[in-house]
């Protein structure tokens, strides 16, 4: 193969690969990026059922209800104007409590309940010594 010819071929292949990867990344981002909503935003925007989002707000006082199975809880997340009922099955983080901030990852079910796959409780020792940043990333789930 001639030198110029080879560079061209390689260049074209590289270009196709890059464009392909770019398209793949863009389409995946469009479908899979989880947007952050407060209860009012979610009500206003009308999030489609099943779309993965993050819902953030305060856990309403007295709203936490434990289901008889012992592992499912229900509670209400509010932001002073709107509120959304949430259902979660699993072990809640230690900092999850009423009247405190929470971020729930999941999607809306058909009945308007937000089904959370993951609960991130607001970290209230936020004055972690700054030196711990980085190594502390694993507490990412305890936001």
């Amino acid at each position: 193969m001639k030198a110029k010819h080879q560079r061209l071929t390689l260049g074209i292949i590289a270009l196709i690969a890059i464009i392909g990867a770019g398209l793949l990344a863009m389409s995946a981002l469009k479908d899979q990026a989880a947007y952050f909503y407060s209860p009012s935003d979610a009500k206003k925007a009308g999030v489609p059922t099943g779309q993965a989002i993050r819902l953030g707000g305060m856990v309403t006082g007295g709203s936490i209800v434990h289901e008889p199975d012992g592992v499912t809880i229900r509670f209400v997340v509010h932001d002073n104007s709107e509120s959304v009922p949430v259902r979660f099955k699993g072990i809640v983080p230690d900092l999850f409590k009423e009247n405190s901030g929470v971020v729930a990852e999941g999607s809306f079910a058909a009945d308007g309940t937000f089904v959370a796959d993951n609960i991130l409780a607001k970290h209230d020792e936020r004055y972690m010594p700054p030196q711990l940043e980085g190594e502390m990333h694993k507490t990412g789930k305890v936001e």
């Binding site: 002073n80 409590k97 009247n99 405190s100 901030g101 607001k122 209230d124 020792e125 936020r126 004055y127 010594p129």
Partner: protein
Amino acid sequence: MKRTILWVPLALFGLFFGIVAYGLINPADRTIESKMIGKPLPQFALPAAYDGRPALASADFGKGEPRLLNVFASWCLPCIAEAPVLEGMAKQGVPIDAIAIRDKPEDVAAFLRRNGNPYQRIGSDVKSSVQLAMGSSGVPETFVIDGKGVIRYQHVGDIRPEHVPTILEELRKAR
């Protein structure tokens, strides 16, 4: 054409730089402001955090003079940093009370022995319940309570010398 292509990586890097520089300059606002500002202090009566200072109740506020309410903990680093600043304000005659969060009496005593004690009363909030009721989500935080017992101002984070004038001004306005 070929020459131009060679500059593409640098251009991409420039794009990256733009994005992160924006992120650095505009850090997302993560302070959680209390929803309680402008409202009366919630009702509470906390036991004394250690035997060196009397206990603290909501009834201690609202007696005509504005007071500072500092939320701290012996295990919190920035609380050490702000201790001298609080001390200085106390020396100027600012009445300061405190709530110690999830603490033990001996730890509080040791903390105050080491870092100074600007407080008149200290309540112990073992479960953070009063802290949450006040709309405070971390330590240290400091509230200005006016002479009628209404929360007027919230300072999130350690008080540095440059914050003192603002706080004194808020205290004056709360009179």
